[in-house]
Amino acid sequence: MTEEPARVRGLRIALVVTALFDVLALVLFLRATPIVFTVFMFVGQPLFAVAMILLLGAVLADLRAKQLL
C-alpha cells in the first residue's frame, strides 16, 4: 500500500469523526440535559481530539514527503 492512500484514509476517518462530534454538539444545543452534556464532554470532545491528531498526522506526513521536515 502506498503512503498517499493511507494518508487519505486517515483524513476520511478524521472527517467522519468530526461529523460525529458535530452531531453530538448539535444534540447538546437542542437538548442540553446533564446526561447529554456528560456524553458530549467524555465522548464528543475526545472525538474532536482524535480528528485533530489525524489531521496533524496527515500534515506532518505531507511535510515529510516534500522533505520539508
Binding site: L11, A14, A25, Q45, L54
Partner: protein, 234 residues
C-alpha cells in the same frame, strides 16, 4: 472575498438558529435581541450546520480531486477551524445550561423538589426564595454550590457523580443531601444585609455560632424542601 462568502453562508443558518433560541414566558423589553446564552446557542447551531456542510464538501472533493492544495485548505477549515468554534460554543453553552433548574429537574428523582420549588403555595425555604425571586435564576445551583472558582469546580465534579449514580441506578431513596448544609451559602447573600443583621432572631451573642456554622440556619428557617416519600419511584 472568502470572508464575505463565509458571512453569506453563515447568515441564512444563523438567523433561524437564533430565532429558535428565543426566550418564552415573561414579556420582553422593547428592542430585546436575546441573552448571551441565546446567541451562544444560535451561533453554535449555525456553526455545527456549516461544519457538516463543509465536511460533506471536503469528503466529495477529496474523493474527486485527491489531496490538492485547495482540498487541503478545505480539510483544515472543516476538521480544525470551524470545530474549534463549535467546541468552544458547545462547552460554554453546556456549562451554562447545567446550572439551570430544568437541568436539575431533568432527572426524575428531582421532580418532587422542583415541583415544590415552583409551587407558589409552598412555604418551604426553597419555594419562598423561588416565588419571591430572591435568587433571579439558576436557583438549585446557586444554593447548592459554594462560592468562588473552587465551589464551581466542586459542583461540577459532584454533578458528574450525580449523573453517574442516576444513570447506573446506584442511589438510595429518599434522596438526602450528601453533607450538612453549610451556613456560608446562606450568609453569602444574607450575611451583610441589614434585615439579617438587625433581626431580633439573630442576637449579637448568637452571631459567632451562626458565622462558624455551629448553629445551622436551617434549625430555625427549615425545611428547605418537603419531606420525601420512601416509596418514591426510581
Amino acid at each position: 472575498m472568502r470572508g464575505r462568502r463565509l458571512a453569506a453562508a453563515l447568515a441564512p443558518l444563523l438567523i433561524p438558529a437564533v430565532a429558535m433560541a428565543a426566550v418564552d414566558g415573561v414579556p420582553l423589553p422593547r428592542g430585546w435581541i436575546g441573552t448571551t446564552t441565546d446567541w451562544v446557542r444560535g451561533f453554535g447551531i449555525a456553526f455545527v450546520l456549516l461544519d457538516l456542510a463543509l465536511l460533506a464538501l471536503a469528503w466529495r472533493n477529496l474523493r474527486r480531486f485527491g489531496l490538492t492544495t485547495s482540498v487541503r485548505g478545505g480539510l483544515f477549515v472543516a476538521v480544525a477551524l470551524v470545530p474549534v468554534m463549535v467546541a468552544f460554543l458547545s462547552f460554554a453553552y453546556g456549562l451554562e445550561q447545567s446550572t439551570t433548574v430544568s437541568a436539575c429537574g431533568s432527572c426524575h428523582v428531582m421532580t418532587p423538589f422542583v415541583a415544590d420549588l415552583q409551587d407558589v403555595k409552598s412555604e418551604t425555604l426553597a419555594a419562598t426564595h423561588f416565588k419571591n425571586r430572591y435568587i433571579l435564576d439558576h436557583q438549585c445551583y446557586t444554593c447548592h454550590s459554594n462560592y468562588g472558582l473552587a465551589g464551581t469546580l466542586r459542583a461540577k465534579f459532584e454533578g458528574l457523580g450525580h449523573v453517574w449514580r442516576y444513570t447506573t441506578g446506584t442511589y438510595d431513596l429518599p434522596i438526602k443531601i450528601a453533607s450538612p448544609y453549610p451556613n456560608v451559602r446562606c450568609l453569602g447573600c444574607h450575611g451583610a444585609s441589614q434585615k439579617f443583621l438587625g433581626s431580633a432572631g439573630h442576637p449579637k451573642e448568637e452571631m459567632p455560632n451562626l458565622m462558624a456554622g455551629a448553629t445551622s440556619c436551617l434549625d430555625c428557617h427549615g425545611p428547605a424542601h418537603p419531606a420525601q416519600q420512601k416509596a418514591a419511584l426510581r
